[in-house]
């Protein structure tokens, strides 16, 4: 279902780079409007930058179809950034004349992904322009978003990065169906989950009536940890093969946006000065406390985050960052980010003001963040405002 309704362009306060970009883009549009021919009212819909680190985005789904009327502020498309899925709205009234990047396709931030015609007559014109533009693939820009000079020109001859739909969804030809070659029987929710979690239904054994695949079977198959195991097939003697979600050996599969971001950030981190410390801590007191409040829904993750936050109160230097090589920037709040593995990669939901929030609220908040992270519904301020990041070996 459609996710969030806020405008996408202004995300967290830390991504300062976007604001000037937006206003210059907007002003450039108005100046270009003055300078282009009066009757050409075909605008481009751009791939927006949804975070300061985003360089390209993948189209998850088109909310509107070609020919639909658009009103300013209406959601047009859902885009997957390196962190979450966001609704993109249109800034103009008009008609969605042509979709230039299809669902599953990838486009660089700032490049055109669709054309918006102001009136219905221009739809045809826009369509033909879109068709005739030569899609010369340009390398995905590694750093800054596309410069403003490429926006607003008589638009359509621009190069557009059109990548064929990502093949990371295992697209092999024939998969052996379970239950001796019969068709796959899966419940509606199981089918939805399988699509979302990219699980090949043919390789899941069903635990429902008559070997039907139900939702929890799909979730089990998608889970990273294999100890979660597969429920024993009671009714029908189905072959008990628990294959990992269809990785085809020997194939080359491009990264998803998230995997790409993780890889880039990891590489970047290699250039940061590091200092490693190991310390053994006896956790008797911690274990005792955990036992006491575990029943109230408190997890070890929340406890560790709280403990870390309290420690940071006493040592603000650890909660600071160095941006220019010359000075400490002491962060005004203690936001503990905890790395979470989700299907397809990694994300760091943030427990804001972890020193100030009580342990119970912290646990509740953590649970909520994890659910949202798994559903790829985290808001930018929920994942990029961390001042200290931790990793946890504890499952939630």
């Amino acid at each position: 279902m459609a996710l969030f309704l806020q405008t996408t362009f202004l995300t967290s306060s830390s991504s300062l780079r976007q604001k000037p970009r937006l206003s210059s883009w907007a002003s450039h549009i108005s100046s270009s409007r003055a300078r282009t021919r009066v009757h050409a009212k075909i605008r481009e819909i751009f791939m927006p930058a949804l975070s300061s680190t985003m360089t390209e985005g993948k189209i998850v789904s088109w909310v509107k179809s070609e020919g639909d009327k658009l009103s300013k502020g209406e959601s047009v498309v859902v885009v997957e950034s390196d962190k979450a899925d966001m609704d993109v709205e249109t800034f103009y009234d008009g008609y969605l004349a042509a979709i230039m990047v299809e669902e599953g396709g990838v486009a660089a931030v700032g490049s055109a992904i669709a054309l918006l015609a102001e009136s219905q007559e221009e739809i045809e014109e826009a369509k033909s322009k879109a068709a005739s533009s030569s899609p010369t693939p340009s390398p995905a820009p590694a750093s800054a978003p596309v410069s403003e000079s490429t926006t607003g020109s008589d638009s359509v001859e621009k190069a557009v990065v059109v990548v064929p739909p990502s093949t990371s969804a295992m697209a092999s030809a024939v998969h052996p169906a379970s239950e001796g070659g019969k068709r796959v029987v899966a419940s509606p929710y199981a089918k939805k989950l399988a699509k979302e979690l990219e699980v090949e239904l043919g390789r899941v054994i069903g635990s429902g009536p008559n070997g039907r695949i139900v939702a929890k079977d799909v979730e089990a198959a998608a889970a990273v940890a294999t100890e979660l195991g597969s429920p024993a097939a009671k009714v029908s003697a189905a072959p008990a093969v628990q294959a990992p979600p269809g990785i085809e050996l020997g194939s080359v599969v491009p990264f998803t946006t998230m995997q790409g971001a993780v890889s880039r950030n990891m590489l970047e981190s290699l250039s940061v000065p590091t200092f490693r410390v190991g310390y053994t801590i006896t956790t008797d007191a911690l274990d005792a406390l955990y036992k006491k409040i575990k029943s109230k829904g408190v997890t070890m993750t929340a406890l560790l985050a709280k403990a870390t936050a309290l420690a940071l109160v006493k040592h603000p230097a650890i909660n600071s960052s160095c941006r220019d090589g010359n000075s400490f920037t002491y962060n005004s709040s203690i936001n503990i980010a905890v790395a979470v593995a989700i299907d397809g990669g990694l994300i760091t939901p943030v427990l804001q003001d972890a020193d100030k929030v009580d342990i119970y609220s912290l646990s509740r908040k953590w649970k909520e963040l994890v659910d949202k992270a798994r559903a790829k519904q985290l808001q930018p301020q929920e994942y990029n405002t961390g001042t200290l990041t931790t990793y946890s070996q504890f499952l939630f």
């Binding site: 279902m1 509606p188 929710y189 089918k191 939805k192």
Partner: protein, 577 residues
């Protein structure tokens, strides 16, 4: 749909007034058709809420009706007691005590007619016992369940709800008790007003003669000046589908809620199937729709249908197969699940086989008109429906109205909705008591009680554009979103739109469609306007309380751009209290 068959007279292109659509004549003398009168025989909207295209082409050419027949019903009812017809037992006998019959009976008594009503099963008919009433009870439960289980929604309001659960029998009892209560209310209301309730299956023996009693046994005979057939409809089960009442069910069984299956396939994605999917998914089932047409919810305005799909189907545990027929459905037996064989609707090739826990057949309703004795009055049914004209007069095989015989409600197939049936009944009684009346079906609203609700009145956008092309006028569309409404946002239910289809030249409202919270209640401003012929410019300055959901409609009217001006002075006189 049929475009409105306007009479020769009066309607100029940029009419300064739109005639009132439900036209009544307030004098008792028969009128001659040559006199110019603003009469409007409005078209029928058949597609809405018919699971299958049903309507007969029984409408005879207009001229036939216009001839002397028009005098007879009016003059007959005018004759006072004491002249020839005084030997009738009753002024009016109604066969069928459902919503249609009940509505007609109450109105008849109010107008002074001696009335009897025949019922062979339960008072209240489908609506009360197997339709509207129990389904709304179940939908109320499902609405609440959905709210309580929507953790995200609750959290946004700052609420914490422990895991909500339900007791199936408790839910079923709520529906049953409600049906019983309403049934008793209906019965008592008729008794209190002096309507004779005759028990038994009714059939027509000849003009003015009705028999009632147990099936196939000689029953009692009553005579009446006028007879109304209001026998209603039953769920239609296509051939090849075996209904066992437990695992393969129709809406009749489903409303008893004897079980909540894990996975239920619903054949038919019209409003009945849609409402049931709402109930079942809220109670924890998963649903698969099987739809013969290429699109789900074919009867709705396509834009509404698309949004409805986004909200009511995609995020729920529902999947669907379109463009397929279920040719064979076998109930569950010996541990085997219900099996459904699907074929492609166009190529008829086998497409798939589903194995589910239960199947609900929601492919529309068939008229219940067997054994009515229509042969005795030379009436031929068209696919089970009783052919009628726009005054609900039954037509014989030649196309002439049978004197003193009417048919209302589902049995005639014009508009298979409860309130349409009672409106038709009232229309007939009006005619019987001296006022000619033609019901404008385009002013009758319809609603689907999913969460959020869907409602509509008038034409869909494609229908309006088709009419516009044929008749040469422009059509405009205005839309507002519930996202802009304070009350909706306060409830955190901002998902929804309202759509107005209108004529920008004269401000006529062609259709209004609403999808959102309380849509079923909000539609009436629009349906009233259409019924009274009110135009947008006359209504757009009316004040709506703030903050209410009705402001969505207010915004809708205000956003319409009409070239004509408001007629008449704006009334600003102080109201004496």
């Amino acid at each position: 749909m049929q475009s409105s068959a306007t009479l020769s007279l009066s309607q100029s292109a940029a009419a300064s007034t739109i005639p009132k659509s439900n036209y009544t004549v307030n004098h008792s003398l028969p009128f001659s058709p040559s006199k110019p009168i603003n009469l409007r025989f409005c078209g029928l909207r058949r597609e809405a809420f018919l699971g299958f295209s049903s309507l007969s082409r029984s409408q005879p050419p207009q001229s036939k009706i216009r001839s002397d027949k028009i005098n007879s019903p009016i003059s007959a009812s005018l004759s006072d007691n004491g002249s020839a017809p005084k030997s009738f037992d009753y002024d009016l006998v109604i066969i069928g005590a459902g919503v249609g019959g009940h509505g007609a009976a109450l109105h008849a008594v109010e107008k002074g007619l001696k009335t009897a009503i025949i019922e062979g099963d339960v008072i209240g008919g489908t609506c009360v016992n197997r339709g509207c009433v129990p389904s709304k009870a179940l939908l109320a439960v499902s609405g609440r369940m959905r709210d309580l289980q929507n953790e995200h929604h609750m959290k946004a309001l700052g609420l914490q709800v422990a895991a909500a659960g339900y007791d199936r029998q408790g839910v079923a009892d709520h529906a049953n008790n409600l049906a019983t209560k309403i049934r008793n209310n209906l019965t008592n209301s008729m008794k209190a007003l002096g309507v004779d309730i005759l028990t038994g299956v009714g059939s027509i023996l000849g003009p003015h003669k009705v028999q009632y009693g147990k099936l196939d046994s000689p029953g009692n005979i009553v005579t009446a000046k006028d007879i109304i057939i209001a026998t209603g409809s039953v769920p239609f089960v296509p051939k090849g589908i075996e209904v066992d009442g437990k695992t393969v069910i129709t809406s009749d069984h489903a409303l008893k809620l004897e079980s909540v299956p894990d996975w239920i396939a619903i054949v038919g994605s019209g409003y009945i199937g849609l409402e049931f999917s709402d109930v079942y998914t809220a109670l924890g089932s998963e649903v698969t729709f099987i739809e013969a047409l290429d699109q789900l919810m074919p009867g709705f305005d396509p834009e509404i249908g698309k949004l409805a799909q986004r909200v009511l189907i995609n995020p729920r545990k529902i999947d669907y197969h379109t463009g397929v027929f279920a040719t064979k459905i076998t109930p569950a037996k010996n541990g085997k699940p219900v099996t459904i064989e699907l074929i492609d609707a166009k190529t008829k090739e086998p497409k798939d086989t589903l194995e589910v826990d239960a199947a609900l057949i929601a492919t529309g309703r068939a008229p219940f008109t067997d054994g009515l004795g229509l042969d005795s009055v030379h009436v031929e049914r068209k696919r089970g429906f009783v052919p009628v004209d726009e005054r609900m007069r039954v037509l014989d095989f030649k196309g002439d109205p049978v004197p003193h015989l009417y048919c209302i409600g589902d049995a005639n197939g014009k508009m298979m909705l409860a309130h349409a049936a009672s409106a038709q009944g009232i229309s007939v009684v009006e005619q019987l008591t001296g006022r000619d009346h033609v019901l404008n079906h385009l002013s009758i609203p319809a609603a689907c009680f999913t969460h959020p609700e869907i409602s509509m009145v008038g034409l869909t956008e494609p229908q309006a554009r088709e009419k516009a092309e044929k008749e040469g006028f422009e059509v405009s569309v205005a839309k507002t979103s519930f996202k802009a409404n304070t009350k909706a946002l306060a409830e955190n239910e901002g998902e929804g739109i309202a759509k107005l289809i209108y004529r920008p030249d004269n401000g006529e409202i062609l259709g209004v469609h609403i999808f959102g919270l309380h849509a079923a209640d909000l539609i009436h401003e629009a349906s009233n306007a259409i019924a009274l012929g009110t135009r947008i410019q006359d209504i757009k300055l009316a004040v709506h309380a703030h903050p209410t959901l009705s402001e969505v409609i207010d915004e809708l009217f205000k956003s319409a751009k009409v070239k004509a001006h408001a007629s008449g002075p704006i009334v600003n006189e102080p109201v004496a209290v």
